[in-house]
């Protein structure tokens, strides 16, 4: 983005704003040093931070199964996935920091409950099939949400999403492959898969957020090209993508209203329980308290380690400057 600042003349607010609007209109990228409206900056910090928090909290439901994974191959896959998620959290916090946020504050806001994370991670992983269903549904929904974000108007966010999406699609395939293996297995394994599908379907549809007529931030985010599609568009895309996969797998999706609509060229489906979503995002889901408590405990119990690293780095720096002075 070229700003008038490059000419040396003191920039006028009006020209800055029009340059920003122009960048957005031409579908170009806004970069950290560019001028941007406060609202744009704040919206992005909130969205990117909440995305980062989701990656970090999202390590918990699957991390639950690392020590119980039923084969060494699955255990390795889980380790790699949880490691990737921590890495995604790190990219995203870095992207948020390019906007002037500080990771220390963002972490604080997460454990104080002042910033949110994806509603889906407030549901418990009750059986090993949940691990596969999380890969299939939750990572699948994340991909629907995130692939368009690779073209987000904010450069650092878009670039982070490119890396995140590559790894997410790998996780999704692994999740689905676990379910395929289980469906070819014993009666109990098949029942376990169906049960997990029944429990995760609706919460996964809710990951796309409230319906469009009740989504306060959507219009502005779309105008700024932070978002590319509405919640309902993405939800529809997810349903259309997932139904044939469910058929191939041999499971049913727990929605009596789900059917192909020839006219629309899409699947019709029932209405998620929006009251449930409201409860979960306001803190009253099945695992909200545990997730935050665990994050807080890791942070607080790790304080002495971070303090040690800081103190050691200061000592090293002092020694280096003494060495240089001598």
């Amino acid at each position: 983005m070229n700003t008038p600042a490059a000419t040396g003349a003191p920039p006028q607010p009006r020209s800055l704003e029009s340059a920003f609007e122009d960048t957005i209109a031409r579908d170009q990228r806004v970069e950290p040093r560019d001028w941007m409206p406060d609202g744009y900056r704040k919206t992005l910090i909130r969205q990117i931070a909440q995305h980062a928090h989701s990656e970090i909290i999202g390590m918990q439901p699957e991390g639950e199964w690392i020590t119980r994974a039923p084969s060494l191959r699955r255990k390795a896959i889980l380790f790699a996935k949880v490691q990737d998620e921590a890495g995604h959290g790190l990219y995203l916090y870095s992207a948020a920091e390019t906007l002037g946020a500080d990771r220390v504050d963002l972490t604080e806001w997460l454990i104080e409950g002042r910033q949110k994370y994806s509603s889906i991670f407030n549901y418990p992983t009750r059986t090993f099939a949940d691990v596969g269903v999380i890969g299939w549904f939750v990572d699948g929904a994340a991909i629907c949400n995130q692939v368009p974000l690779c073209r987000s108007s904010y450069g650092p966010y878009g670039r982070a999403m490119v890396r995140v999406c590559k790894e997410e699609s790998f996780h999704q395939r692994q999740g689905y492959e676990l379910l395929l293996t289980m469906m070819r297995g014993t009666e109990e394994q098949r029942a376990m898969v169906q049960d997990a599908v029944d429990r995760w379907w609706w919460p996964s549809l809710m990951m796309f957020g409230p319906p469009d007529d009740n989504s306060p931030n959507s219009a502005r985010s779309m105008a700024w090209r932070i978002k590319r599609h509405t919640n309902d568009e993405l939800r529809q895309r997810f349903v259309d993508m997932t139904v044939p996969q469910a058929e191939k797998l041999g499971v049913t999706l727990p929605d009596p209203e789900l059917r192909w609509n020839e006219e629309r060229g899409h699947h019709d489906f029932g209405t998620p329980d929006w009251d449930e979503l409201k409860r979960v995002i306001s803190g009253d889901g099945p695992c909200n308290a545990e997730r935050i408590a665990r994050r807080r405990a890791a942070h607080e119990e790790g304080a002495w380690v971070r303090e040690a690293a800081t103190a050691h780095a200061a000592k090293q720096a002092a020694r280096a400057s003494e060495g240089a002075a001598a």
Partner: protein, 239 residues
Amino acid sequence: MTATLPVTAALALGDDALVLSHRLGEWAGHAPVLEEEVALANIALDLLGQARVLLSMAGDEDDLAYLREERAFRNLQLVEQPGGDFAYTIARQLYFSTYQHLLYAELAAGQGPFAPLAAKAVKEVAYHRDHAEQWTLRLGDGTDVSHARMEKACEALWRYTGELFQPVEGLDVDWEALDASWLESVAGILRRATLTVPEGPRSGAWAAGAGRQGLHTESFGRMLAEMQHLHRSHPGASW
């Protein structure tokens, strides 16, 4: 060398890697900084990879991991030591990765059946050792609190370190020289970290060589119960 020799050694080395990997997995979501979530999972994944190769040399990896009982595991007592704080984990990593690095370097240089695995693994283990060394320095030479915790952890695990140098059947290694190199390396790092090199015995009548004979500490049975539960609940199922 008879055909049974590599099996004993493969189980010993494979069980070490498997069990330590599992213990590191207990950190997922609990690490003091996100960078350590990545690092500990990375190390655990390397170890699990080594375990899978080694156990496959001895039989079916999943049968060996999930269907053996405590008395049949051949890992060192050091790697099964549970919980503790981050200092405890780092001390365990320092002792074990220094040992594994020296051992794999020697096996990689030889002609034995473990040379190919060791040649690949020694690169991973060099990273593990470096990670443990850097954290030993940070914690030892950090704050008073971290210094005290690190000193306590190094002291507490010291008595499990003699076992590392009990000869393993099938490994053509100069164990005494390995022990001397280990001691020199670890003591050097501890001193640089302003920590006291522990003075207590490195093995006692109760610990010397015990893990290699299938005699484990109490928490190990609970670890196996958690690790094996799902697999054992569905006999014959594949995952």
